[in-house]
């Protein structure tokens, strides 16, 4: 009974927030509602018994991705009037994407996809809960059958990261930087110099 109540509350909050993401006037509010969706969805994952995915969803999406979203959106100088004008122009395209996604949901929900796939063809059926908890189950599949894809995905992200750094890195000349090793290695001998300049002469540095 508790689980059903929790499901309906979480699902309702997720749906309402999803509508608010597209209809909120302020983009920052949209991001906030997006975060609400992530949190409620991870609650739904917990209800479905996939606690590992739930925690990962929060760690990765809420803890890292959405923080960057929020950074970017907060820094933008937004003109609300201009934002409104673009709405009708992009509405058909958005509608098309929504339609395709909805069709996919319907296909999955009515099990058209599943019925045509032979269960033996499925590479890795989900093991029962008493055989392996879902952290172990995901680990086993990810690091055995799908290790190549896993590594490739990592490489793609790595290349993207290096690309971002290369694009934004600028070496400014004449900027003094702190060299901690050099500072720590300084002794009295290397740091202090005693000179006896004659009167009327200076010291050349």
């Amino acid at each position: 009974m508790l689980q059903i109540a929790a499901f309906y509350i979480l699902a309702a909050v997720a749906l309402i927030s999803a509508i608010m993401v597209v209809s909120a006037k302020n983009p920052v509010h949209s991001v906030m509602f997006l975060i609400t969706i992530f949190v409620t969805t991870s609650g739904l994952f917990v209800l479905a018994g996939a606690e590992y995915l739930a925690m990962l969803l929060i760690v990765v999406y809420v803890g890292a991705v959405a923080v960057l979203f929020l950074f970017v959106v907060m820094m933008l100088d937004i003109d609300f009037v201009e934002l409104k004008q673009g709405f009708m122009r992009y509405a058909p395209f958005g509608g098309l994407v929504a339609l395709v996604l909805f069709a996919m949901f319907v296909l999955v929900a009515s099990a058209v996809v599943e019925a045509k796939v032979d269960p033996h063809v499925l590479a890795s059926p989900t093991p029962a809960l008493d055989v392996a908890n879902n952290t172990q189950a995901i680990g086993r599949i990810l690091y055995t059958d799908y290790i190549l894809f896993f590594q490739l995905a990592g490489m793609v992200l790595f290349v993207a990261m290096i690309g971002a750094i290369v694009l934004t890195l600028r070496h400014k000349p004449h900027v003094k930087r702190q060299n901690v090793g050099k500072q720590v290695a300084r002794t009295r001998k290397t740091g202090v110099e005693n000179t006896k300049p004659k009167i009327g002469e200076g010291v050349t540095l």
Binding site: M1, L2, N26, V28, M32, I35, V39, S42, E51, Y52, M55, L56, I58, V59, V62, G63, A64, V67, L70, F71, M74, N133, T135, Q178, V180
Partner: protein, 362 residues
């Protein structure tokens, strides 16, 4: 909680669970109140001052007086501030700081939710804490809080990475994501606590190769406990990493515009997090509720032992605050990204290799 529902039925079981959570909260809040007083007393003693000494004997009720002062003051919402988010931000900070306690076992068998993915839950919830800061800074509609929020958000995100890797090391050695399992792994005495396992490795013997590797892994864990301590300081914005506040050189960062109860919530969340980090260090590295000479099975004694360890860890936090000068922001980022991140990555590789070649449970 599930055990309660099984024993008492859905209605009374969930009510009992809520009651239990309230008991947890009250204990944590009282601890925070006295630890705040303790913090100020230690700081004062190092600087040869008296510290708070007016309210109650030796000023022990100072935090309660402060609490009443905060609550009775007026909440000022700056004009042009985003009112809803301005109010929600401190609430998020305080709620997330309490949420983490749900999976923390405080004594043998005393835990609200004995989750299989307890550690991941802690990482997930504590990564939510950064939202309170960003939202608070942005909603104030003023540049100083906004810049302060960006600064402290960047700081928290950076140190979360090294904290995550340190925790991964411990998890690999123990072989479980469950916090109770982590404590039970260290029950044999002080030389089996994760921080001192390198001495335990020499005492246990075994083949020279295995003993040597176990010794190396123990040393790695000892280093990791130090990295975790420093990262915990940075993560909870404690001195010497209190760049978000830096009260002697900058304005108060993201909380410039906050006053009264809303400010109190921010500060409370911060201190609840600090106490939580002390508890985490005790559980991950210092044997949790186990005594130095052996296992504890009595929950009351176990709670007492863990409580003493939390206070001892907090004493370290307070001493660091008193004697270490504040870091500059670029130095903070340098330590986080250029020293801790590579070090912890290498350590994860070492511990991983040990587990792969010699089996788990070092």
């Amino acid at each position: 909680m599930k055990a309660l529902i099984d024993a008492l039925g859905p209605l009374w079981g969930s009510l009992a669970g809520i009651g239990l959570s309230l008991v947890y909260m009250v204990v944590v809040l009282l601890t925070v109140a006295f630890i705040l007083w303790f913090d100020r007393k230690v700081w004062a003693a190092v600087q040869m001052r008296k510290g708070p000494n007016m309210v109650g004997p030796v000023g022990i009720l100072q935090s309660f007086a402060d609490f009443i002062k905060f609550v009775l003051k007026e909440i000022v919402v700056p004009s042009g501030a985003n009112k809803t988010i301005f109010v929600i931000a401190p609430i998020i900070t305080v709620v997330t700081s309490f949420l983490t306690w749900a999976v923390l076992p405080v004594a043998p068998g005393w835990v609200l939710s004995d989750m299989n993915v307890g550690i991941l839950y802690i990482l997930a919830v504590s990564s939510l804490g950064v939202y309170g800061i960003i939202m608070g800074g942005w909603a104030s509609n003023s540049k100083y809080p906004f810049l302060g929020a960006l600064r402290s958000a960047a700081q928290m995100v950076s140190y979360e990475v090294s904290i995550g890797f340190v925790i991964v090391c411990v998890l690999l050695v123990v072989g479980s994501l469950n916090l109770t399992d982590i404590v039970n792994h260290q029950k044999a005495g002080i030389w089996d606590w994760n921080a001192f396992a390198f001495i335990g490795a020499l005492m246990h013997g075994g083949s020279p190769a295995k003993m040597g590797m176990a010794f190396v892994v123990g040393l790695v864990l000892f280093a990791m406990s130090i990295v975790f301590f420093i990262s915990a300081l940075a993560e909870t914005n404690r001195p010497p990493f209190d760049l978000p506040e830096a009260e002697s050189e900058l304005v108060a960062g993201y909380q410039v515009e906050y006053s009264a109860t809303l400010y109190l919530l921010f500060m409370m969340g911060e201190y609840v997090n600090i106490v939580f980090m002390c508890a985490m260090i005790s559980i991950l590295f210092l044997g949790g509720w186990n005594l130095p000479w052996g296992e504890v099975t009595n929950p009351f004694l176990g709670f007492l032992v863990l409580y003493v360890k939390i206070w001892a860890m907090f004493f370290m936090f307070a001493m660091v605050k008193a004697i270490v000068p504040r870091y500059r922001y670029d130095q903070l980022m340098r330590i986080g990204w250029k020293i801790f991140l590579p070090t912890t990555l290498v350590c994860v590789a070492i511990v991983g290799a040990y587990v792969a070649f010699f089996g788990g449970n070092a």
